[in-house]
Amino acid sequence: MVDVNKKGDVWVFVESLGSKVEDTSLELVGKARELADELGVQVGAVVLGSEIAGLDERLICCGGDKVYMCQDPLLAHYQVSSYSKVLCDIANEYNPSIILFGATSVGRDLAPRVAARLGAGLSADCTDLQIGSHKDSVTGKTYDDILLQICPAFGGNVIATIINFDKWPQMATVREGVMKMPELDRNRKGETIKHTVNLSKEDLVVEILDELVTEKTVDLKGSDVVVAGGAGIGSKENFKLLWDLANALGGVVGATRPAVDLGYISEEHMIGATGVTVRPSLYIAAGISGALQHQTGMWDSKKIIAINTDPDAAIFDVAHYKIVGDFNEVIPMMIKAIKAKC
């Protein structure tokens, strides 16, 4: 177990593909910067791989103070056995106070295994991270400057704050897009630390026989306008109307979980707690009731238009424009109005 080290840095486990750091990792570095400033410690970014030269610069521009470069041919492909070994070794050496992971295929595979080996706590899918204090109701003892790991629980009806005051490091996973992308500061200075990796072939337990990596085809996160539909749209054919509106606005189409489950649209379009989080300039919600699991994925949108036949639908609680009506009538009117103005 790693000792509670109040002076320990805030770390991010960095994922990269080719010569590019994944967005999720950059977003986490941005968040780590805020947390570290509050604690008066530094941000450490840990990069593992075989060809990682140059990634340190980008991580420093995004807010990193120290970039630990763990370079080795044996780290060319992610494997839980080799990556967990390197990460546990380096964590034991430097004793960070916090380690953040993206809630990606890799992060979800790696973080629990690392937490188990370090005997540390881990919380999943945090929607916010803050520094605060905790008073233990049994001992009456107060713990200051600990990580408050905020995540939806019980199907999203409740927000739970998870903490971890005695078994460190404090670890959490965060989904892509939940934290804001930090601004690049090309003048930022930081330190690159080459960490010697101690691996042998025996550490590669799994044999990867074949793999297919597909490009993401929908860019929900990067789009300025999202037109989202829910179960209320009623069919795949009706969803076409949403595509028409999205095309007229130069936007993309999103959906709720039921709309995906009902086969109106594919899963990569899903927005919400178990889907993508978006913050477009304009979010149009049609036939969506506004369950919390959906709202958490879209409520930071700058402008929200909600169209629903039910005047009491919860989606109106987060909307800027409330339209009580049938989307079959309202959306064609919107398309007409947009075409008239352009």
């Binding site: 056995s81 188990a116 999943a124 409740v158 739970a160 998870i162 297919l212 409330k322 339209i323 109005a337």
Partner: protein
């Protein structure tokens, strides 16, 4: 060769069916109003184990940790084809986080021994997807998470297709190995009527007044263990042994925004679109 498979099955409230009367006044979920079911992914994990049994030869043991009522999810595993079942139940389990839960379950697994441990990718209540990898660590096994298809099992290894964020990966791992299984892996069978007739009488010794050996002979005994019987380190479990604690929970209160009601007419909509173009929400 007969492989020893252990399938982990969690009893969960059916959170997919939350209706009005399952909500408390403060907005939290009243779990007692929700039906208890086997965690959906776990039935896919069980199906993979049964597939291994049928194609390659194996015994399948189902294990659950939970309240005495969790015996029901084990019965459901027996209906579908599990050979035997173990319930770990002990009040001291309360408050266990994923690390503590994984320690307890790994002790039960070590007691029976396993070549292949199968669990669901995630539960529908806790939803952390952390228990699988943490158990793999504690039993010192390889791990293959997010299994979407079983490909092959041979003497020393298992091959699966994993479904990942952007694509898939075919991977081969040595035994012992833990698999966390997704709902894409298969279509779980329903219980066979004959098995259902037989195993609906399966029960734990705590709930049986007669001679337990008789039950065991008829293969109707769900073994029940407490923490001492499986060698759990009590400093690593429960509220005190769990590294994560819940600092607080709060009902979600949404901030009221200034909302403009727009009439669903062409005039109303056109005025709204004009406003959005003017403030550059639409470019």
């Amino acid at each position: 060769m007969s492989y020893k498979c252990v399938v982990l099955i969690k009893q969960v409230p059916d959170t997919r069916a939350i209706t009005g009367d399952a909500m408390n006044e403060d907005g939290t979920v009243n779990r007692s109003k929700l039906a208890s079911i086997p965690n959906p992914d776990d039935l896919h994990a069980l199906e993979v184990a049964l597939e291994i049994k049928e194609k390659f030869g194996a015994t399948v043991t189902a294990i659950s940790m939970g309240l005495p009522e969790a015996a029901q999810v084990l019965r459901e595993a027996l209906y579908r084809g599990a050979d035997d079942a173990i319930l770990v139940t002990d009040r001291r389990c309360a408050g266990s986080d994923t690390l503590a839960t994984s320690h307890i379950l790994s002790c039960a697994i070590k007691k029976v021994g396993a070549d292949i441990v199968l669990c669901g990718r995630h539960s529908i209540d806790g939803e952390t997807a952390q228990v699988g990898p943490q158990i793999a660590e504690f039993i010192d096994a390889a791990q293959l998470t997010c299994v979407g298809e079983l490909k092959d099992v041979d003497k020393n290894s298992i091959t699966v297709r994993r479904v990942l964020d952007n694509g898939w990966q075919d991977a081969k791992a040595p035994l012992p190995c833990l698999l966390s299984v997704t709902d894409q892996a298969n279509e779980p069978r329903v219980g066979a009527a004959t098995r259902l007739m037989k195993y609906k009488n399966a029960t734990t010794s705590a709930n049986y007044d007669g001679d337990v050996n008789e039950l065991r002979e008829k293969n109707l005994l769900i073994e029940q263990y407490d923490l001492d019987q499986i060698g759990v380190d009590l400093s690593r479990i429960g509220f005190n042994g769990s590294p994560t604690k819940i600092n607080r929970t709060q009902k979600v209160i949404l901030e009221a925004k200034e909302v403009k009601e727009i009439s669903p007419t062409q005039e109303g909509i056109s005025a709204m679109v004009k406003e959005l173009i003017e403030d550059h929400s639409i470019n």
